[in-house]
Structure formats: structure tokens, C-alpha cells
């Protein structure tokens, strides 16, 4: 049982990382905390639900194609929001930047309820991934492994892009010193828009991939954003590898908590976060964001 839960924890951690990485990349460049990131995740899940029957019901390729399309659609919506609304208030009061993303939370939630209703929907996993295999007398469902693997591929591609491509260099330059990057002739606005699009895409495919794993409903946005915030705080906002460690820690703690202390797992995660925060604030004034 422990190992089965460990696999579940790794999978959940991977999905959390996909969301948190978008959050942390956006914050790193534009200093904006996107409260609507959980909503984009939810949107990705619902779009996958809508797309799977159209693209290829039951097949593995159809499922992942639907997830990718959902991610692209989510990215388009995120980009539209960035261009139409967010762009107007860069550099203003941080509270106003948060509130404008809260506005997007309400809008997405209402539209999702409008289109898909208030009840939970389920996204079927592809037939080929429904089974389980046996190691040492334990049944391991295949699906979490595949999702973990797919998430890993996405993460490796993302890290590859950030480390080795020109876009990645520009992104890192923008994160390190926005003003200097602008002085060197890099179009700041393009970085902001690009990062927001990429972050939305990651949230969208995370929602799509995790959709078969549980109920998909309009309340997903807040539960997901709270977990993602905790991950970001543990890892340090703007710190991609910190987010990876934080996501795995939270995912595994949640999964193990179901086994041993089902009522306390959230409290335990909170305690971990509190310890990390206090340990960090002893050295510096509350981490890099000051």
C-alpha cells in the first residue's frame, strides 16, 4: 500500500509542479502572482473533458492530443487576458494586480458553470491505461505512472528550453534583471506575454492530464491554487527547482497522509510550510521577494 500511495504522491506532485512552475515563472518575470492559475488548471480539465470525445475517445493518442489542444486553448485565453487586462496595470499597486487576477477567477468560474453546469463530470482514462500490474503482490494502477512520465517529459522539455534556447536565455535575463534586459533591447512586453502564455499552457495540460484522476468541477480552482501557493512558498517564489522540491514534498505528504492520518495531512503540510518560512526568515527578511 505504501508504494502504491508513493506513486500517487509522485504523480500528484508532478501535476502540482506543472501548475506551480507556471506560477513561479510568471512571478519571476513580472512580479505578478496569478490568482487565476488554478482557474486555468480547471479550464484545462473541462476543455479536455469536452475534447476527448471529439478527438479520439478511448485511445491513448486521442487523450494526449485532447490534453495538448486543451493546453493550447488555455494558453490562448491566458494570453488574451494578459494582453487585454493585465498589461495595463504592470508596475501599479501589487494589490491591484492580485485583484485583477481574482476578477479572472470569477469570470472563468461563472463561464465554466454556464457551459458545463455545477455538477462534477468525469473524464475517462484511455482504455489501454486502465489496467494495473502486479509487483510483489501489490496492484499498481498504470495510469498514475503514465501521467508521472508524461509530466516528467514536459518538465524536461521546459528545463531544456529555459537552459538552452534563446527564448530561455531571454526569460532568465528578464527574471534576473528586468531593466537591464530591456536596456539590451529585449522587448519586455513580449517576455511578459510569452511567459503568461507558457504558464497558462502548463496549467492547462496539468488540468487535462490529472482530469481522469478525480472529479472535475468548478470548485477545483481554489483547492488547486491553495496547494500551488503552498508549493511556491516552500520552494521560494520565482525559484523553479525549489518549486519542484516543494511539489514533490506536498504531493507525497498528501498521499501518505491519506494512509496514516487522513484528517491531518493538510495541517501537516501547513506545518512544513511554516517551518520552512520561519527557517528562511531567520536568515533573510522573508526570502527573495522581501
Amino acid at each position: 500500500m505504501i508504494w502504491v500511495q508513493l506513486v500517487n504522491g509522485l504523480m500528484e506532485g508532478m501535476m502540482l509542479f506543472l501548475i506551480a512552475s507556471g506560477l513561479t515563472l510568471i512571478f519571476g518575470v513580472s512580479r505578478i502572482v496569478n490568482f487565476a492559475h488554478g482557474s486555468l488548471y480547471m479550464l484545462g480539465a473541462f476543455l479536455t473533458y469536452a475534447l476527448v470525445p471529439l478527438v479520439g475517445p478511448g485511445t491513448v493518442a486521442g487523450f494526449f492530443a485532447a490534453v495538448l489542444l486543451a493546453g493550447v486553448a488555455t494558453a490562448a485565453i491566458g494570453t488574451a487576458f494578459e494582453v487585454l487586462a493585465l498589461r495595463r496595470i504592470y508596475g501599479s499597486d501589487p494589490l491591484m494586480q492580485l485583484i485583477i487576477t481574482v476578477a479572472l477567477v470569477f469570470i472563468i468560474r461563472d463561464v465554466v458553470r454556464w457551459i458545463w453546469g455545477a455538477n462534477s463530470v468525469t473524464v475517462p482514462a484511455p482504455d489501454a491505461l486502465m489496467g494495473a500490474f502486479v509487483i510483489g503482490g501489490n496492484y499498481y494502477p498504470v495510469f498514475p505512472f503514465v501521467i508521472f512520465g508524461a509530466g516528467l517529459v514536459v518538465v524536461l522539455v521546459m528545463i531544456g528550453i529555459i537552459r538552452f534556447t534563446r527564448a530561455g536565455i531571454i526569460l532568465r535575463a528578464g527574471t534576473d534583471d528586468r531593466g537591464m534586459a530591456a536596456l539590451l533591447g529585449i522587448n519586455e512586453r513580449l517576455i511578459f506575454t510569452g511567459v503568461f502564455a507558457a504558464g497558462s499552457f502548463l496549467a492547462g495540460i496539468a488540468g487535462g492530464m490529472a482530469a481522469p484522476y478525480g472529479d472535475v468541477n468548478y470548485l477545483l480552482d481554489t483547492t488547486v491554487i491553495v496547494s500551488a501557493f503552498i508549493v511556491c512558498v516552500i520552494g521560494g517564489l520565482g525559484n523553479l527547482y525549489g518549486a519542484l522540491a516543494g511539489a514533490m514534498l506536498v504531493g507525497i505528504t498528501k498521499a501518505m497522509g491519506v494512509l496514516y492520518f487522513p484528517r491531518l495531512s493538510m495541517v501537516l503540510i501547513f506545518l512544513i510550510m511554516a517551518v520552512v518560512l520561519i527557517a528562511r526568515s531567520l536568515g533573510r527578511q522573508g526570502g527573495p521577494a522581501r
Binding site: 487586462a85 494589490l95 481574482v102 469570470i107 463561464v111 495541517v267 518560512l277 526568515s281
Partner: protein
């Protein structure tokens, strides 16, 4: 930046007119109207307590509902578990909230800006989760009901008048705090914590005091809300109430003593009347927020101030 609160004769007149208008609507509008007004006044108190943190301490809390919920549960649990009479238990709502504010605040004031906001959010979610999952003690998601007559058995109109009085007393207390030396310290730390520290203040301690005060007033609002409903539910500590209060402060406009009250009036009336015109209240709210943030970043209070100056009621500052 936030200024100290000075009451000019024109402002006293406006305040008096507002009180008379509310009480008049309460007496003329029937029980339904009175219920809406009572909720509006309770939320005005809640939003004002958050505004105390935001406008004066420059601390943006995303977890203020924790203290609303602790107020409601501190009160109801004292009735159901400790067997206190309802009137005596009332005291323990705000006290529980202030105690919660002390514990969470001690943790949260170590951080600033966005980290502060995130940690307060996490604190509130934990409070919500504990209230939601600790079935044996809090009743979980079924909440606590049937331990008292809603509104002490007062009529709707009389209860709304009572909340109006409580709100008035609390606002007066908050105004006293803001104009006191303590309020000065809170404001100076809010404006520039490094300079305040250089001047000999201990920023974290000042912020903690502000946090506990805000939690205390939020606890009064939560207790009143539990009385008005005759019940307590985990949702009281949920993200929904926090966001509602934040939106009220933003609609009202930051950096004004009255933004919580103004925002609460606009928000609750909109929420009450909007369903008559549209099925998509949240969509409408989202769009209203977008417009306010982009076009009116200082909220409705700034418009009211401009109007007053245009009409010559107040001199230019």
C-alpha cells in the same frame, strides 16, 4: 497614502444622513429588507477590520475569514460544548478570533508583501480544514445549528438596528485607534517599515498588534453573523468570505477609513439585486472588478471625495 481621520461638519452631516437613511429603510422596507441590511452592516464591520490592516498597515491579508470563522465558532462552541448561556458566550467569539490572530499573526508578520498574503491564505485554509474535518468537535460540514434562537429572537428590524449600533461602536473604536499614537505607529510601519525601524519602532511587533486588533473586530463580525443566522458553518472561515471582504475594500477604494463600509454597501446591494437581472452574478462581478482596477484604481471613495470637493463641501487638500 492613508491620512488620519478628521471629521469635518460636512462629514458628520453625511454620516448622520447615512445612518438615518439606513434606519429608515430598515423600518419601512419590511423583514426582507431588514435581513439584507443586517448582513450588509455585519459585512461592513468585517470589511472595515480588513481595511484597517490594508489601508493603514499596508498588510494585504488573504486569510481574514479565518477570524470571521473563529469568531462564529468561538461563540457557538462556548454555548454547545461549555454550556455557557448565549449572552455570556458572546464575549468568547472575538476573544477566540484575537487569540487566533495572535498565533497566525506571529507567524505571518515575519513575511512581507506577497509572501504575507500567501501565508495568511494558508492559515485561513487550515482553519477552514480543521473546522470542516473535525466532526466530533465542530460538527464538520453540517455545522452547528439549533443552539439558540436566530437573532436572540429579536424581530428582523430590531436586530438590524442592533447591528447598526454595534457597527457604530466598533467604527468609533477603530477611529480612536487610528488617531492614537499606536495608530500612528501602524501607519508609519505601513508606509515605510525601514524608516519606522530606524526611528525606533519594532515593525513586526507593531504589525502583530495591528493584526490582532483586526482579527478581534473580524471576530465581532463573525459572532454577530453566527447570531444572525443562529448557526455556524465552516464556510464562514472559507476563501469566499475573504474574497468578498477584499473586493469590498477594493470597490470602496484603499487608503480611506470608509472604504470597507462603502464597499460593503455597494457589494451587498449588488449581490442582492443583481440576480433579478442576470443569472451570471459572478461574471458580472468579475467584469466590474476589471473595470474598477483598470479605470478607477482608487475606488468609489475617491469619486465621492472628488464630488464633495467639486460641490465645495470640502476644501482641496
Amino acid at each position: 497614502m492613508s491620512r488620519s481621520l478628521r471629521m469635518t461638519p460636512a462629514r458628520w452631516a453625511a454620516l448622520g444622513a447615512a445612518i438615518i437613511a439606513i434606519e429608515l429603510a430598515n423600518r419601512v422596507g419590511g423583514p426582507g429588507m431588514s435581513l439584507v441590511l443586517a448582513e450588509m452592516l455585519i459585512l461592513a464591520l468585517f470589511a472595515s477590520s480588513l481595511n484597517l490592516l490594508m489601508s493603514y498597515g499596508h498588510m494585504v491579508s488573504f486569510g481574514h475569514s479565518a477570524f470571521f470563522g473563529l469568531g462564529a465558532y468561538g461563540f457557538t462552541l462556548m454555548v454547545t460544548k461549555a454550556g455557557l448561556p448565549v449572552e455570556a458566550a458572546l464575549v468568547f467569539g472575538p476573544l477566540a478570533a484575537a487569540l487566533g490572530g495572535l498565533v497566525f499573526g506571529a507567524l505571518c508578520v515575519r513575511l512581507t508583501e506577497i509572501y504575507f498574503a500567501m501565508l495568511t491564505l494558508a492559515c485561513a485554509q487550515i482553519t477552514f480544514t480543521v473546522l470542516f474535518q473535525w466532526y466530533d468537535f465542530t460538527g464538520g460540514d453540517t455545522g452547528i445549528t439549533g443552539f439558540m434562537d436566530a437573532r436572540f429572537g429579536l424581530s428582523e428590524a430590531n436586530f438590524a438596528t442592533l447591528t447598526l449600533v454595534v457597527l457604530g461602536v466598533c467604527l468609533a473604536a477603530m477611529a480612536r485607534i487610528i488617531n492614537s499614537p499606536l495608530g500612528m505607529s501602524i501607519r508609519s510601519v505601513g508606509q515605510d517599515r525601514w524608516r519606522a525601524e530606524a526611528l525606533g519602532l519594532a515593525p513586526r511587533r507593531v504589525q502583530l498588534v495591528a493584526f490582532v486588533i483586526a482579527a478581534f473586530f473580524a471576530g465581532i463580525a463573525g459572532t454577530l453573523f453566527a447570531v444572525s443566522q443562529g448557526s455556524a458553518f465552516p464556510d464562514y472561515a472559507g476563501l469566499g468570505f475573504t474574497l468578498d471582504a477584499l473586493i469590498m475594500v477594493v470597490i470602496g477604494g484603499l487608503h480611506s477609513f470608509w472604504s470597507g463600509v462603502i464597499g460593503a454597501v455597494i457589494f451587498t446591494q449588488l449581490r442582492h439585486w443583481a440576480p433579478l437581472f442576470t443569472d451570471h452574478w459572478e461574471l458580472a462581478l468579475g467584469i466590474i472588478l476589471l473595470v474598477i482596477v483598470i479605470a478607477l484604481p482608487h475606488g468609489v471613495a475617491s469619486v465621492a471625495g472628488k464630488l464633495a470637493r467639486m460641490l465645495g463641501l470640502e476644501g482641496r487638500k
